[in-house]
Amino acid sequence: MNLEASTQQLSYIANQASDARVNIELETEGMTLNLGPQHPATHGTLRIIVRLDGEQVVSADPVMGYMHRGYEKLTEVRTYPQVTTLVNRIDWLGSFANEVPFILAAERLMEVEAPPRAQWIRTALFELSRIANVVLFLGDMAVQLGATTPVFYAFRDREFVLNQIESVTGGRFHPNFDRIGGIKDDLPKGWIQETKDVLVRIRSFCDEMQDLVVGNEIFQTRTRGIGIIPADIGLSYGLSGANIRSSGVDWDLRRDGGVGLIHDQLDWKVWTHPDGDSFARYWVRLQEVRESCKMVDQILDGIPSGPIMAKVPRIIKVPPGEAYVETENPLGIMGYYIVSKGDLVPYRVKIRSASFNNVSITPWVLKGVYVPDVISILASLYFILGDIDR
């Protein structure tokens, strides 16, 4: 892998030099192609200005901000329950996972701990939203590469997970279920058995994806060896989540973080892959879905009985202080830094979103690749625009 890294670095430098030479000496210019902001391939309104020389990329500049909604300013004038509602909409595919670090940070400031039953149910919903998010990725990367069928299977099987989330929380996409001190409501009767049946479907979906996509030689030829990100470069750009685990770095906040979710009481493993290419990123996420199914099964078997809400006042005023909590969200590491001055509203909330850092590696990794590989790499990095722009 060192050879690939230095080759890519060399080609980066060579391309920069050739860029200058081409412009001055030969007076031919490369073609500038605008990928986006309206484009079928980018997950929303991301614009990448790509300068091409034939079919090879000379330079790539992502332009973000087309979807900026001013979250951090909005949170300065919203109370804590209202912020919980808004924060759902950052990563809209695995939306329960957005609330969790915010609530954990507020609970740390209030020095309140949620009762065990609430923590277990919170973790179950956290892993279910990870399943919903990554199942869509598994279908979506296939459709970016041209296979039109796997994405329909992904949406079909994701419906069942969303139905389960809806039976508990009331909302398929925006649960708004986490509260400071616990969760809003308890599980309806029959939910545990239904969710176990849904997990059986998700496992068979994973096997279908294994046959249809991962085992497909055409897919492998399109993704093996494409977009190799060495571990040190990835870490220096701040990649997180499955992107960095597929470069061989064994780091998962669910195991190494230890904040308010009960992953340490479950039996599961962290999946890594030594290559850093697009195939590895797809493969690691496929295994992570299977691992999440295993985790949810264990959680459902062992939910303790008890209350779901700790003793918190009705009107929540968080004592002054600062707290930063980050968790392993489906897209990567998401963190909330809350500064409170003792009011009903937070003084400042800084949101560290995973996709912002995942996209920042684009200029480095896209140098010297062909145009079709641009799509393959962007699809495998898996960002969501709401997460980048907030």
Partner: protein, 169 residues
């Protein structure tokens, strides 16, 4: 970039799509033909908000907590007759206007949650789209009519310590 096409993986992929084709032909598809066949959402689905007018005291908590400020409440105070003869007349709130603008509503549920008198309920009804945007402002009478579609609260799973609340009719 070496190319070595080994056949088995490609054939397995063909098998998956063929199997789904046969399954759809014999057992039917996963989709329903919407206007003719309707799937019911779950019982807790957040479709529309219903108002039980008797419980409401126009305390304005829901209007204050709404993130979008889409609830419009007007009320007046009046003197009710004393409970026992010879006592003082009591001051009570009467509700004049209670409108929810569903064009602005985020369907977050904060209003339903903070109401101290259990006057607001969720109903899974979602087919209330209108050609005119102004018709999405539901007034008191319409919100009371939604109460008929509010389902009974279900039982909780074993191990829960939450009390089951009854929906007032």
């Amino acid at each position: 970039m070496g190319l070595s096409i080994r056949v088995p993986g490609l054939i397995k992929g063909l098998g998956v799509t063929f199997k789904t084709l046969v399954k759809t032909l014999t057992k039917g598809s996963h989709t329903v033909q919407y206007p003719r066949v309707k799937e019911a959402p779950t019982l807790r689905a957040r479709g529309v908000i219903a108002l039980h007018e008797e419980n409401c005291t126009a305390c304005m908590l829901c209007a204050r907590e709404c993130p979008d400020w889409c609830i419009y409440i007007e009320g007046h105070k009046y003197k009710a007759p004393p409970r026992r003869p010879g006592g003082k007349p009591r001051q009570k709130n009467a509700l004049d206007r209670f409108d929810i603008d569903f064009a602005l509503c985020m369907y977050c549920g904060i209003c339903v949650e903070v109401c101290p008198f259990e006057a607001l309920f969720w109903s899974p009804e979602f087919e209330f789209s209108e050609p005119k945007l102004a018709d999405l402002l539901h007034d008191k009478g319409q919100l009371s009519k939604w109460m008929e579609t509010v389902p009974e609260f279900e039982e909780y799973e074993t191990g829960s310590e939450v009390k089951q609340v009854k929906v007032p009719r």
